[in-house]
Assembly symmetry: C2
DNA sequence: TATTGTTATACTCTATAACTATA
DNA sequence: TATAGTTATAGAGTATAACAATA
């Protein structure tokens, strides 16, 4: 009964530690940990719709919109009309946004190293795999609860 | 270079999935995931000071105070003067708070099971261990950055 | 002097619901 | 009818700084 109920606790403690370290590391550049995640998501897949961006950040379209308005004011992202779907808008990093992200990525390197170095050889991929299994299980569960059975095309990464 | 930068992503995805599932599971009882964590922390160690409570939740005294005011209004926790330190106040669950927590714990059982069942035998303790190592590494790092070198008595659990 | 807690304050993230304009 | 995005709105968590009372 021990480790089963310890999983949520350990997961929370690790994530909050990461979040605080990230906030501290990026504060000098006026960026929050969550804003960094948005920028990083754009950096690895530009010209996403807001919906797709929200999905990849495992966030909410409304939340993402508020963040985009903020980052647009800082000149780090730009939104343009979607080429084929007039309802949608595509989001991308500006040139300044790309420069900013490179600096942020460098500022975050010590954090990634600290996490990686806390593990023995081979444990990092394993950890990632276990976390992904858990995330998938939880997300599938919430679907089956919230919606009637249906076809769900459910991929994690492109 | 892959799994190293995947760790933060996977950690975030897993935690946010947990947080959303928890919010959904507790919403019917008018409690948030974070409030549940506070109640659970009190349930396993009653009569803590607010500072100690904040530390164990890896949160902030000011944040915890706001949550306590809210939970006190709901009649789930009570604060009393500390027996020996007149500055401090001890926090404890009320009888209603204990009943509430038992119901919440039951409501959260499916979530804990989904996480546990997503793992193979023996992987759960391993995952907890890896997460704890990461949290410790990150917390120690933030201390050594934020403060001049000094003696730091740094334990995780009593 | 250092510490516990309170207060005031502000900002970010989160999320729902109603709305528009397209598909 | 369903979807993409906007708007209004609300609340919850986070955190800093100044302050009182006490150690």
């Amino acid at each position: 009964m021990g480790s089963k109920s310890d999983i949520p606790i350990a997961l929370r403690a690790a994530y909050l530690a990461l979040h605080r370290c990230s906030d501290a590391a990026f504060a000098a550049q006026g960026i929050t940990a969550d804003q960094f995640v948005l920028l990083a998501t754009l950096a690895r897949g530009d010209a996403l719709t807001q919906r797709e961006l929200a999905r990849r950040m495992s966030s909410d379209p409304s939340t993402v919109r508020a963040m985009l308005v903020l980052l647009e004011r800082l000149g780090l992202v730009k939104r343009e009309g979607h080429p084929t779907d007039a309802r949608a808008r595509t989001v991308a990093l500006t040139a300044a946004g790309k420069r900013k992200f490179r600096k942020l990525w460098a500022a975050g390197e010590p954090i990634r190293s600290q996490m990686f170095d806390a593990l023995n050889p081979g444990e990092a991929p394993l950890l990632v795999q276990l976390l992904n299994r858990i995330a998938t299980a939880l997300n599938e569960a919430s679907i089956s609860v919230g919606q009637p059975p249906s076809f769900n095309s459910h991929e994690v990464e492109p």
